[in-house]
Point group: C2
Chain length 208, copies 2
Amino acid sequence: MDKNAIPKATLGRLPKYLQYLKNLSEDSPDTISAAALARGLSLGEVQVRKDLASVSGGGRPKVGYIKSELIQEIEDRLGCNSLTPAVLVGAGKLGRALLDYNGFEEYGVRIVAAFDCNDKLVRKEGGDSKDILPVSEIYDFCRDNSIRLGIITVGEGSAQSVCDMLVKSGIDAIWNFAPCRLVVPEGVLLKQENLALSLAYLNNQLHQ
Amino acid sequence: MDKNAIPKATLGRLPKYLQYLKNLSEDSPDTISAAALARGLSLGEVQVRKDLASVSGGGRPKVGYIKSELIQEIEDRLGCNSLTPAVLVGAGKLGRALLDYNGFEEYGVRIVAAFDCNDKLVRKEGGDSKDILPVSEIYDFCRDNSIRLGIITVGEGSAQSVCDMLVKSGIDAIWNFAPCRLVVPEGVLLKQENLALSLAYLNNQLHQ
């Protein structure tokens, strides 16, 4: 199966399937049908079949899916069993909001540290809080911890230099919140987040 | 022209066209061709023609677009000349990050105030900062200021009650950052933002 083939919408539903399957009682049968999953999650049965086909080859007519196998397959696909460590650069309000958000882990990513050039924001061993380290430590940290994923939440003015720094530190996937287009070497994945655009789209629909 | 028809990607490029057109020198000709715009913005000419067709009927063969008209048409479509006022509920880190972000205005939306149930976060007439008001004032504020757009940045637990409050206050478009599905009455627009999903998608591509 081509791992490329999983649509974003399907990916978004996978944590829901996982949660539902894990919450089924111990006494429930070892297998579950697509129809039962669809009912339980208020989804269309066709959609459930399509979603599960993208993670599992195991659905059998009249039997359904073996629950334990399906859980394993979804977890594997989401990367839950091997969290990808990520770093974040720019510990302003947005940066710290992302740093404190725990919802990324159910999608297989853990932000392990943030970096900022403002010494006042630097904090280490902050108990429950994640470390915010000086920007000068990015390179060593990423190399030492085999970090491949970087999140940019600095302003437009310094986004490209931060991006270059991350690439030099071995990072090959970047999620950019700065409102500017970044240049990355071939082979480095770049996802541009434009929050204003979502709002613009909603506004546009409102005034149609 | 059906206002519905404008694709999100086109909408995302409109501010760039606008900025480019406005930055052309006073001495430049009154008209501009799609080819010149495409060169100036490093976009494909076919894409530029398609984008502009969604906002303007005015491109003429061998002449191009009348600059002043095109600027007006793009501004109208983006709603720049009549900013839609929006409110935000939940002035935590993410909420305040959105509140302080000025990039929404170029897409026709201005967040005019935030609300929070934590009295410690409430601030009024804070100079350059926007007001953060007690949640109890939502209803009157939205009614008095004809607010139609609401942004939810509270936690999962209170998102639905905040949503209900916004709907009661006359809001008919909601942008929800809380990681839960909201129920809204028919006729109310709802856009669910799932930041974790973007990261999951990037992570998925990284491990293909």
